[in-house]
Symmetry: C2
Subunit: 425 residues, 2 copies
């Protein structure tokens, strides 16, 4: 009987995939006006149904509380008027972005008269697997739609009712704009096996974007037969070069670590040149400690800051997502780069330095999606980059690296125009 049920689930998932593929063919050639109208109408529906959304969300919250889920999960799950308005506004902002589809990325003429253009087209069908934040339903669905992609959304079971209510608003938008409702579909069950089927439907799904904790991302990487755009973790580094300005070192390190500790661009390890450690570390660490940050230091750090506790080998590869910072004194630029290469996650790293040569060496040699000079690692964000909303940050090397926004949700094709050319030889 279990097998029978699982076969049913697989068949239902494949039906979802087939519908998404069909819808995507229509979306691929949908005019900008229709896509933007759908987004704006969905935003209007969210505002109209705001109190309904909050009521539905209260049911999710009550169940989550009864299941004993933690305060952080409950906070991510919660919708109030302000959050519903933010979701609606975000859809309108996506509508305001330029339409990437059809853009000519390059165009050139060959000596034989062939006119070759590289033209942006949608990626196709995108599967999004995420956890408790119900706003991802609107953000991911909206970004996919804008880039002409169909989305298959699989949200967390905690937010099942809230996500379904948000999806209804998106569908109202699609319907009003004359676009297929299958452009944005949700997996209609909280059965975890559904994700397993989704990750294997490489005939219907072109890319998987997982959003959530490390265990979710690990599962997706391990099981997916479909390319994945994601980051497993953001073990980000800030490196204080011996030439660093003290005030800047204090301000940027504080921001990089403590502005928000739970985001992937938060700095998790601070490296500091030995030559400048007595000048830089005591004031930087004092400022952090006074704001409630725990310091786990190497022996040299401990000698400079007695309130620090000893770091273990494990600390260098830990993404705390909390008010904890690992601190290591290094011999110089080479050791800093080597440390990041060994322990980092290729997400975001910053150097604080007055010395431009040292900074350019760091920027050239550190192999991360984002490298910064004299700025906070917390800028690792599509919005801060001016790319509009993002669906996540990717640390893989292929296709999209760094923030994944509307442009990164497209691919391209070559359009060749001739007048009867035949290939010689």
């Amino acid at each position: 009987m279990a097998t029978r049920l699982d076969e049913d689930l697989e068949a239902r998932m494949r039906e979802l995939g087939r519908a998404a593929r069909e819808a995507q063919r229509r979306l691929a050639v949908a005019p900008r006006a229709a896509k933007d109208a759908a987004l704006r109408r969905a935003a209007a529906e969210l505002r109209t149904r705001c109190h309904h959304l909050i009521a539905v969300n209260a049911e999710d919250l009550a169940e989550a509380e009864a299941r004993g889920l933690g305060k952080a999960v409950l906070d991510r799950l919660m919708l109030d008027e302000k959050r519903v308005e933010a979701i609606a506004r975000s859809l309108e902002e996506i509508a305001e972005l330029p339409d990437p589809v059809g853009t000519e990325l390059a165009r050139w003429m060959r000596p034989n008269g062939l006119d070759i253009a590289r033209v942006r087209v949608p990626l196709g069908v995108i599967g999004i697997v995420y956890e408790s934040r119900p706003n991802v339903t609107a953000d991911a669905g909206g970004l996919c739609l804008k880039a002409g992609n169909a989305a298959i959304l699989r949200g967390g079971s905690e937010s099942f009712r809230s996500s379904r209510a948000i999806l209804a608003c998106l569908h109202a938008g699609l319907e009003a704009a004359g676009l297929p409702l299958a452009a944005i579909q949700a997996v209609p069950t909280t059965d975890r096996a559904a994700v397993g089927h989704l990750l294997k439907m490489n005939d219907f799904v072109d890319v998987i974007v997982p959003r959530g904790g490390k265990s979710l991302i690990e599962r997706v990487y391990a099981e997916s037969r479909i390319p994945v755009l994601a980051h497993l973790e953001g073990n980000c580094h800030t490196y204080l070069h011996e030439s660093a300005d003290l005030d800047m070192a204090v301000a940027v390190t504080l921001n990089a670590k403590l502005r928000r500790t739970g985001i992937c661009g938060a700095t998790e390890t601070l490296l500091c040149d030995r030559a400048a450690a007595p000048r830089l570390l005591p004031p930087v660490l004092d400022a952090l400690i006074r704001r409630g940050c725990e310091i786990r230091g190497c022996p040299e750090t401990l000698a400079l800051e007695p309130r620090a506790v000893p770091a273990s080998e494990q600390d260098w590869s830990t993404e705390y997502l909390d008010a904890i910072l690992a601190v290591k004194v290094v011999a110089g630029l080479e050791e800093a780069i080597a440390h990041i290469e060994r322990y980092g996650s290729h997400h975001t790293e910053a150097i604080i330095a007055r010395d431009r040569n040292a900074a350019e060496t760091f920027l050239a040699r550190v192999d991360s999606a984002i490298v910064l000079h004299n700025a906070s690692t917390q800028f690792a964000d599509g919005g801060e980059f001016g790319m509009g909303a993002e669906i996540g940050i990717a640390t893989g090397r292929l296709h999209a690296r760094g923030p994944v926004g509307v442009e990164q949700l497209t691919t391209f094709k070559y359009v060749v125009r001739g007048n009867g050319q035949c290939r010689p030889g």
Copy 2:
């Protein structure tokens, strides 16, 4: 004992991967002059050692003949003076290409003064799994080197000696240029299990590029834990719209099918509008048949060309790589697009039409890596596109679509320059 041997092989493969990763860090920052010097010196070595290469190749050929391998395999395997010169020249042409590494793809300033650049960087370590052509050793090694990547080459067992001798020339070039020899390595065994290990080394290898027959590509897709750039097959279509010029239809179809039947851009199915079938098909098919092409037609095709044989359902999805053409009469543009969507492989498709609107609809709606108007599908080639040498053609949607040349063997990172910016909020 088998287990012990396999563990040894895995350890040796991982050692190869580790060395490649280390070499790649150095290559990533190697100046253009060093990379080009290595390529030119390797070309010179190939010419100097030409007679040695031919002698070594003769041993491969003798063994392949003794193993009873077919004429086509022997031809692909064979090296003579002309082919060695072509391999050398190809390395020099790669040296002449611009260096993609370090190119700024975009650069913009944010209102807060952050200066953001998207800069091309190498992809990393590339595993290339290929069959009997020994020239792939030089082409793939050379292209990877030019883009700052390390290559791990796994050629066919038939060309083992020839590939090793070509690799020695590449190593002479690397050595003369002061670059690490591990920039281009070959798997030192013909054991098929080595490929299995390579495909799972996702900590050391960033991309796999398989080149060869369908069964090789299928194996790589099925086993790889690493992203793959490839095409499984090129079931390419030429579509004769009712507005097609007759002379152009004859010339382009002949070229698309018969110029070379064994390349992936060769047309395998001809579609023709019903309204123009009596005008177009008889002369087009007659020209093909007179040049030795077999025609497998739908019933309407058979009625117009009695020498054709009936096509089966299977024919619409077959990549013949031979002088055989499947021919189908369709109601019009919509049916042509639907047929390609159902049976095609998203590689290359062409429309022959005088009607520009019909052509633009076809170009917009057919979802293939390359779409052409009034030109032969045999132009599906990096060289013909003006991209220089190519390592293959990709039909996946992510990262590289169409010809994979030097540029497609790179990725990018974001380089952000500030003056102490902290993220607000």
